[in-house]
């Protein structure tokens, strides 16, 4: 690992200014559980690391009955996983946080870092001059692509690895972004970009912009939610496919409305709008649910080794819906 200057700003404004003045040589650093691997492997070669952890006030969870929850971007995944209100009212967030990595990584990894982590593509993380690193080719397209995307790919075929992003997308969470010109709030759906829009970064964040907080509206009286993650290992792993589901259910017979979000299938946390529309009024029995799932991810383009993800995502979604019934 090359040496670097380690800078400890004490306010988000100072961190933002440092990012602007140092430009591409600077890296925002929160828990560092992902960034450190990339630094060790010389995939990241930044000469200045801007440590965010000395900034106060961004590492707590606040609850409000009318406005919902507000989670600071430096809150660790462990804090989210053990928060009692989240456990009882936002089951999907609790389950997603609990499924992330290992106890050791959850104790250090932060929400902001989890949302902004780099792709888990083995070509990107090894010594390949791929599109995401400014090269001209996606080696996964004709190479080994078991864990790559089945929808939304091209010219790069990564999947976004964040579990929290999938859960927060299903919850229609909002992201408060700090920048030198002020704060702005966007739906989390607008945080992420596809490689066709920008193949060198996963989010819309511009230099000097930092995720400050995440907001989630209070759940309705009939809201039920879950997060299911399929992984190859019984212990910790990234998702082959994951499904986050938020449903409004009345009398366990039909869905009033719902939203499903998917991980492991696309270069960004994914939703299928047509499928979400079908959830409104859907009867909660296996036949209707299976029928609704027929057209899920119809626009997919599977690669040589990842077609298994399509039946997997359908079956996991069916299981999630019927489990919530």
């Amino acid at each position: 690992m090359k040496n670097f200057q380690y800078i400890n700003p004490t306010s988000i404004k100072e961190a933002s200014n440092l990012m602007i003045s140092f430009g591409e040589s600077a890296l925002l650093y929160a828990g560092g559980t992902d960034a450190l691997s990339l630094l060790k492997n010389d995939i990241y070669t930044h000469s200045k690391i801007i440590n965010l952890k000395k900034i106060g006030g961004l590492n707590s969870i606040t609850h409000n009955k009318t406005s919902g929850i507000r989670i600071g971007s430096l809150t660790t995944i462990s804090e989210i996983a053990k928060d009692e209100t989240i456990k009882s009212e936002y089951k999907i967030l609790h389950e997603a946080a609990n499924e992330i990595a290992s106890p050791q990584l959850r104790n250090i990894g932060t929400l902001g870092g989890n949302l902004c982590q780099s792709p888990r593509c083995w070509y990107y993380r090894e010594d390949f001059d791929c599109i995401r690193k400014g090269g001209g080719e996606c080696y996964a397209y004709e190479g080994r692509n078991k864990f790559h995307c089945v929808v939304g790919g091209g010219p790069c075929y990564i999947v976004h690895p964040s579990d929290m992003a999938v859960a927060l997308l299903a919850l229609d969470a909002k992201v408060i972004i700090f920048s030198e010109v002020g704060e702005r709030t966007i739906p989390i759906n607008e945080l992420y970009v596809l490689p066709s829009e920008n193949s060198s970064q996963e989010t819309i964040l511009k230099p000097g912009e930092i995720i400050k907080e995440i907001l989630v509206a209070p759940p309705g009286q009939n809201t039920r939610s879950s997060y299911i993650k399929f992984k190859e290992r019984g212990a910790w792993d990234f998702a082959s496919v994951s499904v986050g589901l938020v449903l409004e259910i009345v009398a366990a017979k039909s869905i009033i409305e719902g939203k499903a979000a998917f991980g492991g299938v696309a270069p960004r946390p994914w939703t299928d709008d047509k499928f979400n529309k079908k959830l409104s009024g859907l009867a909660l029995n296996e036949t209707s649910v299976s029928e609704a799932l027929n057209s899920l991810l119809n626009d997919s383009e599977t690669l040589s080794e990842n077609a298994y993800k399509l039946p997997l995502v359908k079956n996991l979604t069916k299981r999630s819906i019927l489990n919530l019934a």
């Binding site: 670097f4 200057q5 380690y6 560092g32 559980t33 106890p103 050791q104 990584l105 250090i108």
Partner: protein
């Protein structure tokens, strides 16, 4: 087999001899460390050169306070092993995946290889060496010996530190909670059933 080994110039006897030398070698290194300890820290630091990036950090390790100049690209595991010579903490994958380097930071289990020493500034660290009381083993260490919670033993310090963190937060975990609490530690010999038994036994002893 024997011929092959001879060709390479390595018989079982030679191997044992060399291992023996290795042990003696380690002993000499250890006595070097003891001498180094008696040198004052300021004297030691004059021998070292630092880049302009180096910063001073204060850290408590196993109850003792230290102050170090560290290069930003030093991991906590490197600081513990190379500076403090606390080599019970093992660096195995060096990518925060296997758990061999697990230590406690402010009572929580962390991978010391997957965090910068800088980030331990002002923090309280406990390593496997910190569980000993003089020569007396911690109940967890005893339980791992009694229940044979290991085969080669290389992952054991990390396993014990994860178990220690687990029992601090949950003194009477059920089997499922043990599996989840220990899920960040890989044992390549696959001694998992006995690791679980060791944690269960330690929990019983510690709750008496």
């Amino acid at each position: 087999m024997e011929d092959k080994n001879k060709k390479k110039g390595l018989s079982r006897r030679d191997f044992l001899k060399r291992t023996g030398t290795g042990v003696a070698g380690s002993y000499i290194i250890l006595s070097d460390i003891n001498e180094a300890k008696s040198t004052s820290s300021s004297e030691k630091e004059t021998l070292k050169t630092f880049s302009s990036y180096a910063q001073n950090i204060s850290i408590t390790v196993n109850g003792q306070d230290y102050s170090f100049m560290v290069e930003p690209n030093t991991t906590l595991a490197e600081l513990l092993r190379d500076e403090l010579k606390l080599t019970g903490t093992k660096v195995v994958c060096n990518h925060g995946e296997c758990g061999g380097c697990t230590v406690l930071m402010n009572t929580k289990a962390v991978y010391s290889c997957q965090m910068l020493a800088m980030d331990a500034d002002g923090k309280d660290i406990i390593t496997i060496e910190g569980l000993l009381k003089g020569e007396e083993l911690h109940p967890l260490q005893e339980a791992f010996v009694e229940q044979d919670g290991m085969q080669c033993g290389f992952c054991t310090p990390g396993q014990i530190m994860s178990a220690y963190a687990l029992l601090l937060n949950n003194p009477q975990p059920n089997k499922q909670e043990i599996l989840k609490g220990m899920s960040g530690n890989i044992c390549r010999c696959s001694a998992y059933p006995n690791i679980v038994k060791s944690v269960e036994e330690a929990a019983r002893k510690m709750n008496k």
